[in-house]
Amino acid sequence: MPSSYINESKEEFDVLIVGSGITGGWAAKEFCERGFKTLMVERGRAVKHRVDYIGENVRPWKQPFRQRVEKKLVDDQYKIQQQCYAFNDATKHFFGNDKDLPYSTEKDTKFSWIRANQLGGKSLLWHRQSYRLCDSDFKANSLDGYGNDWPIRYSDLEGFYSHVEEFAGISGTPENLPQLPDSKFQPPFELMGPELALKATLEKDFPDQKLIIGRAAHLTQPTELQVSLGRVQCQARNECQKGCSFGAYFSTQSSTLPAAAKTNMLHIAPNSVVHSLIYDDKTKRVKGVRVIDNDDLSEREYFAKIVFLCASTVGSTQILLNSSTKEFPNGLANSSGVLGHYLMDHNYNADIGGTIEGFEGEYFKGRRPTGIYIPNFHYEPDRYHSKFIRGYAFAGGAYRENWGSRASEDGIGLDFKNRLKQPGKWKIRLSAQGEMLPQFENRMSLHSTRKDKWGIPLVNFDIKWSDNERAMMRSAAKLGEKMLSSLGATEIWSNVKDDAPGLAIHEVGTARMGRDPKESVLNGFNQAHDISNLFVTDGASFCSTAVQNPSLTFMALTARAVDYAAKEVKAGRL
C-alpha cells in the first residue's frame, strides 16, 4: 500500500496531486515511476482495496433491505445521489453525502451532481466503458464553430492511449472504424444471440450503424504486470460498484495505486479538503494547497514544486475559483475569463426497447459487465443530421426478462411460480448517448453567500440542454425504433426523457484547453497558460464532450501531461 499516509508536513514535494480518482491515480503512478516524490491529497477517507469493500459479495438475503436503501436515509442524505443507477445499499458508502455536500442551481435550471469523495473517487463507481476519441472529435469545434478548437489532435494522444490501455486492460474488438479508433485490446466479451441478430440486420439495412461489443476496462486476459499488481481476470459478477477484490476492473485501488506505491515515492494525505491553492505573485507559481481537515475542520498546508489538479471537473474548477488573488480576482489562472464556463455533460435522454422472438432456447452464463455499442455515425459535418449538429452513440444490450419485471403479470399460484422459474422474453434495449454543445452560458460559479461546512463557497450551477440536444434525442428515438423494427422486434417502444444534465456523470469543460490564452485556461499540455507549474488534467480541460465516455481520455491526457511536465523539469524549464 502507499508508502505512507501523512497528516502534517512542511516538506516541499516534487509534485502535489489533488484528487485520487481515475485522473489523480494516473498522475501519481506516472510521476512516481519517473522518480518524483509525490503527494496525493484526497478530500475523503482512505478506502483500502478489498478490505473496505463492505458491500461486496453479500448475498441479497443477507442485506437487511435486500439492496434497497432505507427511505429515511435517502431522504436525509442521498436525495441527489440516489438518482444514480449504481446507488444501492451495497454501494452507498462510495457516494457523497448530500447533506454535507450541498450545492445550488440557478433558477429554472437543474443539475444532478453525483459525488464520490473518498480515496479512489469515482474510479470505484464508474461504468468502465472505455473509448478513444477520434480525430474528427478534436476538430469538431473548429469545423462547426461551437466552442474553441482543441489545441491537440488525435495523433498527439494516440501513443498515450496505447500506454494507458496496456496498463489498465481494455476488453474489446478491433473494428477499424474512423470514428472510434481501436484500442490495445484484451479479448472481448461475447455478444448474445439477439445482439448478433441486430448486428446482422444493421449490416444489411443500416450501413452507417456498426454494432460492436462495449469496450470495457475489465481484464479478460491479464498481463504478467497486471497479475503482479494483484489483478485477475473478470469473474463476470457485474457487481463492480461494490468494489472488486479480484481487481478485475480498473480502479485507482486495483491498478494505479499499487503501481505508484511500489516505487516508494507515493505519499497520501487523506481527509484533506483543498480549500484553495497558495499562489506566490512574485514567482508567478503555485506553492501548495490550503487544506481543511475533513473531520475536525482544522487547517493545514502542503507544499510542492508542481501542482496537478485532478479533483474532478467541478472540483478542480471550484478550487481555482476559490483561489482568487489580487492578480487573478476572478479565479486563479483565469486571465481569460472562461473559467467555469462551457460546462457540459452527455445527454442520455432517449431510450428504445423491444421484444425479440426466436431465441427462447438460448440463455447465458455469468453477468456480462458491458453491453453493446453503436458508435457515433454523425461524426463529421457532412454526416450531420439535417435537424441538429454533432452526434450520438447507442449503448444497450439484450436480456431476458425475469421476476423483476414480471411480477405484475396476471396470475397467481402454481402456474405463476412455474412461469417465473423460467426466464421470460428476450428484450433488447438501446439508450442514446448524445454530445452536448459547448456554450459559454452553461457554467458553474461560486455562490455569493452560502458556504459548506469546510467554509468553502458552494458551487452554483447554471446549465440547460439546448434545442440541439433535444432534437438529437428525438431523432435517436426514431432511428432506434426503425432499427428494432427492421430486426423484426415486437412491442417496440421509445421514450424521450427530460432528465437534467449531470446524470451521465460525464461533466466536462469549465477550465478548457486552447491555443489562445485569451480564450482558454490551459494549453495543449493541460498546463495553465497563466501559471507554468499548475496543471489541470481531469474533465475540466475538455473543449467538447465528443460522444464517447470520457474516462479513457482523462487517463491519456494525464499521462501525456505528466510526460511533458517531467521533460520540462529535466530541461530546467519547470
Binding site: H49, I54, K62, F65, K71, A407, G413, Q422, P423
Partner: protein, 207 residues
C-alpha cells in the same frame, strides 16, 4: 463448538473450496492474492431473526397472518418452499416500514383488509382459514379485477404481488433453490442452452 465458531468453520471451508475451484481457473498465485479480500466473504452482518418471536412493525398480528396466507397462495410450496414458508410476509412488513412512504404502507394494509373482508363476506371465514382452492380463486379474482373487485383493489394487489415476488426471489430459498444462483460465475458465456442451466438465474440484477 459455539455457534459462531461453527459458522466460521463453515465459512472457511466454503472459502477453501471456492479457492480450489478458482485456482484451476485463474492460477494459484492469483487466487492466493485474493485471500485477504471480500471476494468470498459470506456476510454475517444480517441474519433473519426468528420469525415467530418477532413483532410486526406495521401490521397487526391478524393482518400478518392473512398476509402470510396471501404470500403462500401467490407463490405456493412445490418441490421448493412457498413465499409464506420463507417469511416473505415478515420481509414485507419490515421492508414497507423501512423503505416505503405511508401511502405505500396504507395501500398494502388496505389490500390485506380488502382480501380478508371479501373472504368473510363470501365464506364467513378469515382469508387465513380458507381452503387452498377458495383462497386461490379469491386472489385470482382480485388479480384480474373481477367478481366485485374494483380497479383500486387490483392496483393495490399488483403492488403487493410485486413485494411478494421481490421478497421471495431475493430470499435464500427463492434465489438459490427455486432459481439458480451463481455468485462467482468465473466468466461470461453467451448463447448457452437454457436446458443446461435449467431455470432463470436468481443472481441477476444486483450490480
Amino acid at each position: 463448538m459455539t455457534e459462531k465458531a461453527h459458522t466460521e468453520d463453515k465459512h472457511d471451508n466454503q472459502k477453501r473450496k471456492t479457492l480450489v475451484a478458482l485456482s484451476g481457473l485463474i492460477g494459484a498465485t492469483a487466487s492466493n492474492i485474493l485471500l485477504s479480500g471480500n471476494g468470498f466473504e459470506i456476510a454475517t452482518a444480517y441474519a433473519n431473526s426468528d420469525a415467530k418471536s418477532r413483532k410486526p412493525k406495521l401490521f397487526t398480528t391478524a393482518q400478518l397472518e392473512v398476509l402470510e396466507r396471501i404470500c403462500q397462495t401467490v407463490i405456493p410450496k412445490t418441490d421448493t418452499p412457498g413465499a409464506g414458508d420463507v417469511d416473505t410476509h415478515g420481509f414485507i412488513d419490515n421492508q414497507l416500514h423501512h423503505c416505503f412512504d405511508t401511502t405505500a404502507q396504507k395501500a398494502i394494509s388496505n389490500v390485506i383488509d380488502t382480501i380478508d373482508q371479501s373472504a368473510l363476506a363470501r365464506h364467513k371465514k378469515s382469508f387465513s382459514q380458507l381452503e387452498s382452492l377458495t383462497a386461490h380463486t379469491l386472489l385470482n379474482d382480485i388479480d384480474l379485477c373481477k367478481s366485485g373487485f374494483k380497479q383500486k383493489d387490483t392496483e393495490q394487489f399488483k403492488f403487493l404481488k410485486y413485494l411478494i415476488v421481490f421478497g421471495y426471489y431475493t430470499s435464500e430459498i427463492g434465489a438459490s433453490q427455486e432459481l439458480t444462483y451463481d455468485p462467482v460465475p468465473g466468466g461470461f458465456k453467451a448463447n448457452v442452452a437454457l436446458s443446461d442451466i435449467g431455470s432463470a438465474w436468481g443472481s441477476l440484477g444486483f450490480f
